[in-house]
Symmetry: C2
Subunit: 581 residues, 2 copies
Amino acid sequence: MKASQFFVSTFKEAPSDAEVVSHRLMMRAGMIKKLGAGIYTYMPMGLRVIRKVEQIVREEMNRAGAVELTMPVVQPAELWQETGRFDKMGPELLRIKDRHERDFVVQPTSEEVVTDIARQELRSYKQLPKNFYQIQTKFRDERRPRFGLMRGREFIMKDAYSFDRDRDSAQASYQVMAAAYRRIFDRFGLTYRAVAADSGAIGGDLSEEFQVIAATGEDAIVYCPNSDYAANMEKAEALAPAGPRPAAVSPLSKTPTPGKATCADVAELLGVPLSTTVKSLVLATDEINERDEIVNSTVWLLLLRGDHDMNEVKVGKLPGLDMGFRFATLAEIEDHFGCKPGYLGPLNLKKPVQVVADREVAVMADWICGANEADFHMTGVNWGRDLPEPDLVADIRNVVAGDASPDGKGVLAIERGIEVGHVFYLGTKYSQAMNATFLDTDGKPKPFEMGCYGIGVTRLPAAAIEQNHDERGIIWPDAIAPFSVVICPIGMDRSDAVKQAAEQLHDELVAAGVDVLLDDRGERPGAMFADWELIGVPHRVTIGDKGLKDGVVEYQHRRDTEATKVALAEIAALIQGRLKA
Amino acid sequence: MKASQFFVSTFKEAPSDAEVVSHRLMMRAGMIKKLGAGIYTYMPMGLRVIRKVEQIVREEMNRAGAVELTMPVVQPAELWQETGRFDKMGPELLRIKDRHERDFVVQPTSEEVVTDIARQELRSYKQLPKNFYQIQTKFRDERRPRFGLMRGREFIMKDAYSFDRDRDSAQASYQVMAAAYRRIFDRFGLTYRAVAADSGAIGGDLSEEFQVIAATGEDAIVYCPNSDYAANMEKAEALAPAGPRPAAVSPLSKTPTPGKATCADVAELLGVPLSTTVKSLVLATDEINERDEIVNSTVWLLLLRGDHDMNEVKVGKLPGLDMGFRFATLAEIEDHFGCKPGYLGPLNLKKPVQVVADREVAVMADWICGANEADFHMTGVNWGRDLPEPDLVADIRNVVAGDASPDGKGVLAIERGIEVGHVFYLGTKYSQAMNATFLDTDGKPKPFEMGCYGIGVTRLPAAAIEQNHDERGIIWPDAIAPFSVVICPIGMDRSDAVKQAAEQLHDELVAAGVDVLLDDRGERPGAMFADWELIGVPHRVTIGDKGLKDGVVEYQHRRDTEATKVALAEIAALIQGRLKA
């Protein structure tokens, strides 16, 4: 293609609301154009990237036996009422009314519609397994859309849904998808990790996120450099410490800590490591009657090492806390502890509370905690001697770098990632709610075992940029670059030789199936190079009169610091070789 | 592809709300699935057709120099308020509010958004001409959605918008698009006509509809079999009759016509041709002051031959009627004619009215019209002798078959069509409303000259079926068939020879780039043939043990009445030859 027949539009500056590098670079490179908050036009340059992402996804989904269809963007509310999501979902579900005042939603996903299709179409076990997917516009009315395509309101997602006759078959379908996702992300040419994710109420380990590694990522990814263990922070288990609890050495003592209401302040005041302190978090659970009235509340004290953070997902799975919990009110805290937050602890309680100790805290000796008296902490605290053993010992914290890997193969490391894909075993959650059944071998109706599988098609280019850029602009992997190759002729309007060589190379590459752009805009070399470095085309060939006299052109990969002279006769083969590699 | 890895779902019956053949066949062939009124899932079989339509459109749009982008489905109301369409458009524009109660629309087209892009991006005449297009989901909240994809609410449209610096250039851009449309519709393999259409207030002839010819089409298409004249009914001109008005022969006479309130009844009663009668249509126009109050109304009497119909578009262009008109009220009619409708005419008026005679009526002699007295008509009416010449003579009727062609090359014929494309010169309507300007050669800002160009991507398959079907099902043209070829093996599960031959042919055709499906579902031959005849795959190869013994298979085109024996060794070449033809 020639630039004059395309649309190249670059900007020196990004708008002030572009906070992250991918948003800034996509705006500057003319890939997207803002229409409203979280709503973007995919400009010609950006659309080419999106189409390449779509095509790779489509090829691998088809190869994995999934079948493409397209479900409507605007969906009647009835189906969403069958699963309860029409009422349960928050305002991020865009609800609309048509001219007849009937309720509709603009789809954020399509579980309801695809389950409705399945219950009509898949009537026998003979038709299973089946996997339907679509690559379709979605809408999610984010409270605070930002970061360009990273957290937009309108976006394109590939969503697939598998239907199986039993759990074993569903797990096999899940594994087929997980393998397809690996092929897809391999083809994108990005550094990524498939990490175990929490599968919520369904349980089991059948939930993985595909995270593109980037320092700017929103998510913390936990992995073991010595093994293939990887999980997101919600999921990664902190093992119980290996050794037994040390013997108590120090005496219990009430120590003045005036104005030191955090573990860090106390540790500094006392000149001890933060890891010898224990922090107290007070939660509450409510017992509700049929009329939705609170009939009884229980207060929980969670004890974590001063240098550790609570993991809400893990806490939410503990017996007694798994039906929902909240932070305790100030009144509840004063009622049970006789003290304001900052100096709380498990000793000298006014009223009994449920004490949950993190696995790490449970094996500590001679630790420090609040005295339940303002401006005082207890030091030399020991389980058994100074207070009863905790009611429950559990993993309730986020792992930290250096923790033992759950697979026993070394210690954990942490890096940042951007979630661009998710494979998830759904079980019968939707099929039961919608009475979606098939006739099994025994002739009896049975609900489908389902899985769902998403890829953020428009988010992926943003993640790719977060991972691959420098101070000059984007650096696309070959597979999803808007153009694989750009030919930059110097003085094409003045030199027939340059024009002829440029057009000949262009035609030769096109004939070889290479996605090449000839920049015939007539820009000065500096401006031309700056544009293509900003846009991030991976391979560049510069053709000038001077080189042509010696029969050479200049080749430069976007990551190269300088250009290499290559014989004009060899450049096409060189590029094709590089693209295949 | 193998059927077992795809999704084939056919139905014996169509739902009762499927009124037209394309709707019935698309439902029965499992191409679409209804989700709500006018909202359909494109099922795997139907999506393949849609994707082929999209691909042909995309290739030809790119070839014509248009550049693809994708504008949002959900668009902020602000831009729609700039052109006034947010308020002016009826309830077919789906208006929605986001979580912050801000107004949005679900796009039915994108003139506003693309004009907004142009005014930001196209700053100089050097960047013109430019044509942006998208293939994108649209929504139009039809009052009465019906006919499946023919008149749905959610649909896919290709919409293109050209931007030019002056009218000449805009006309050239228009012609480029009109030529691209001809290539596109040629490639679809459908019988179609490009017909001149009315271009509304903008004037000129720069509006053409692309109509797929089908007996069931909603639109009447006027054409001259001896020339390339073609227009839609709104646009087609009825020429003034060639000869002069004949001399008056009959005397004026008031004739009793009790209970005969229509021209047809009167002609029958009197035993004269319908074409000797004249019908009276009474319209009114209002003069409005600045406070939107009616300060004066004018009553118009339109006279048409009894066998002709009024053309509202033509009437709406007459001087005095071109700012909007309405049918007169009963009170206005009685006030001016002293009579109820059914016996109205231009003689014996109580108050003066503006008389507009159709060109045909203006040259009639000895005609018949209402007497402005219930149960009486006037016969032997003659212009000049019995009443003054009309205030205005104009073309205000629909043409009929046999009328002279406006190009003087014969007589007109009329057939039915389905509009699937439209090219339209917009002028500066949107650019002026939105102050979308570029800097012209003289350095001064100037509004863009625009054109818009649509193709109904999801409507096209329905139109193709209306044109190409028989009692057994759909007959797809090769270019947009879901599969070009289906291989039907007989007893594949019992015969290794059949299985091997079928798979080998499948693989050979796939390698040659042929879109082939191998039906490995194990259905009985009758059911298998019925499915593929319903679905409408154009080329079918049947492979059975009996034929294989003689080294032959059976080939049958969907339009053939019976199969032809072809040597197994030659079938692949035969199919490739047919597909190229």
